[in-house]
Every structure is written in structure tokens, then in C-alpha cells.
């Protein structure tokens, strides 16, 4: 687990071309560790593969995982389920950067869902940009 997971460095430039009356408007901004959110692509593996889990049930389960490990402070973390596929039980989550380690640890350590063995697999993590495809 990486405790310094909230790293991202980004730069933005603006350059209006062809404006001869003004000095060249060129702005360079460097942001370091500035990403307010992190994105996790996770998949829920269940012992009984025929179990259906709706998006609301998944969100409630994630909150209960957070409460189990980190108590009410964990349960109060803002976690968004951006996208969820009921067929593959995979979801795209968004969390505040300061809560990433809490969320990740509580998902990893969760071992049961409704009296059956389960595991969360974290497939991908991004600091700046949520992507739909995973790349090698």
C-alpha cells in the first residue's frame, strides 16, 4: 500500500496565437500533488458468482467496509460510484485524495459479503483522469 499515493503533477499552458497587439499570452502552471480526487477501478469477486449486487447495494457495502475498519470517520468519507457494471461487478470509484488509503485498505481487508467470501480487486488507480480502459 502506498501511503504517498496522491501524487500527480500537471501542467497547463495557454497560448493565444496571432494577437499582435498584446504581449504573447503564454501561461505555464505547474501543479504538484494537487489532484483533489483519486479514481479506483475495482472488481468485486464473490464466492457465489450468481449473486446480483445493485449499484446502491455496492455503495452501501463500501460504506460498511469503511465503517468496519475506520469507524465513523471512515464511513463519513465521500466515495462516489461513478460507473458500475452489474454483469462483471466492476466499478469506477472516486474518492478524495486524503481518503484513498482508508478506502483502499478497507476494500482490501474486507473478506465477506452477506455471509459469503468475497474480495475486492483493485485493477487500476489514477490521480488525474479516469479512464475506461486498462492498459498494460
Amino acid at each position: 500500500m502506498c501511503s504517498q499515493a496522491a501524487e500527480n503533477e500537471m501542467e497547463s499552458r495557454m497560448k493565444p496565437d496571432g494577437e499582435k497587439t498584446e504581449p504573447p499570452g503564454y501561461q505555464r502552471v505547474v501543479l504538484k500533488n494537487a489532484s483533489p480526487h483519486h479514481y479506483l477501478k475495482v472488481r468485486l469477486l464473490l464466492e457465489d458468482e450468481s449473486t446480483r449486487v445493485s449499484a446502491v447495494e455496492l455503495k452501501r457495502f463500501i460504506i460498511s467496509c469503511l465503517r468496519g475498519l475506520h469507524g465513523e470517520v471512515g464511513a463519513a468519507l465521500e466515495v462516489d460510484v461513478l460507473k458500475y457494471d452489474e454483469e462483471t461487478l466492476s466499478a469506477l470509484l472516486r474518492v478524495h485524495s486524503r481518503g484513498l488509503v482508508k478506502l483502499w485498505s478497507s476494500l482490501t481487508l474486507q473478506g465477506s459479503y452477506q455471509n459469503q467470501a468475497c474480495a475486492f480487486r483493485v485493477l487500476q488507480r489514477d490521480a488525474a483522469y479516469s479512464r475506461s480502459r486498462s492498459r498494460s
Binding site: N8, E9, M10, P36, V81, A128, S130, S136
Partner: protein, 242 residues
Amino acid sequence: MPNGHLVLSLDKDTFEMLGFEGRPSRFNNRTCSRFVVPVDLTDSSMAPGGRGYLRLNKVLRSHLNLQMDFLISHHPGGRATLQPLLSRYVWSEHRPEVSRRSLSNLVCPDLQSCDPLSLLEWLGAVDADVSCENLSSSFLSTLICPEPKTTLSQALSMSVCGLLLPQDVQQLVEQLRCYLQQTQKESWASVTVHGFTDSPVSWGDHEHGVLTGGENFYNLLMFQDLTYRLHLATGAHDACPP
């Protein structure tokens, strides 16, 4: 790399067996377990038959029992040059996967003034087909489009996945610029290019670390009046992009 340097990222055992000069990776976590070996292939001793070439060839072939797959891309018309090399190995051809999606009634922020992180988040949400039309009190997701926002009647999202050459990207950008100049006011185009997250180098010849995310991409947002915004992103422990 384009400057003729071969960069090997090796674990400790392989590095010691190779016996080449290298330096510890910047991304070692306490223990020194990974090394970076840069080899200058333009050096005179690296010419076929040269001293450096023979040594590198010998250690890579005999000391290390490595088997790996290579991704090779060629310029238009370069197939004939590759043919003698390919004929000695088992190979298969992969074409870039292209997918396209028409978007209608897309809620869009003010791209000129939007802050970069919100802008990239919104672009990512569009790419991943995530809805931004949530209420702040919504249980599932509180992701919303940054204010001020407008609604676009139609837009097109395309994605190409494969090993693309910089020339391909440049050609795409030039064509998009031509297209923008011919279209109506307030059009824009955005191109996002992702590098491999586990690539040993990112910008220039600076070392790139995966850590947990391996961010390695840039985004070019072009407007009709030829202004643009360029966003370059990489992991925070990497060197700053140029």
C-alpha cells in the same frame, strides 16, 4: 528511444548478471532492487562487430535467459525493411482498435476558463461514459459538471488503442486544426494521448515510475481561434515535463 539510446530497467539479479554500468532507479523503495542501464547505441563501439556490440550481444544471449515480446511499429513504406527481421521470428500483425461514439445533449463546462484538474476530470468522465448529471445530494455519485456549463447538441468521441507513432498523432492534430477552421464558431477539439503506464521513460529520457498509478499522458485542447491548452501529466516523483 529516438535519440538512439536503449534503456533497460532491470531488477537487481539481472543487473548483476548483465555486468553493465548502470545507476539505481529513482523509484526504489528503501531497498535498492531496481537499476536503470542506459546503452548508447550510436556509440562507435556499438556498431555491429564492435567491442561494445559483441559484449552486449553475448551477455543478453548467454547470461540472461530472457524471452520477451516486442511491439514494433513502422513508418509508411517501412515494411520491406522489417521483413528480413520478422522472417526469423514468430510474429503477428495488430491493427489499432478504433471505437467511436456519438454524444448528444452533452453537458459541457466553459473550457476556456475551467481549471485544469476539473477539465481533465470532465474529459475523463466523457471518455468513460460516466454521467455528470448528478445532484449534490445523490447517494451514488456527487460528480457534477463544473460551472458555468452549457449543453452541446452533439459531439463525437473517438478512441484509438494501439502502438501509435508520434507522426500519427501529429497528423491527427493537424487535421483537427484544419477541420476547426472550417467549422462554425465555438467548436473545439481535444486530443488525449496516453503512454504506457509501465514505460521506463516518459518525457525526454527522464525515468518514469509506476508507483500505484503510472500517470503518463498529455492532453491538447484546441479552439477555433487557434488558441490551445496543453496539459502534461506524470507521476509526482517523475521529472517535470518540459
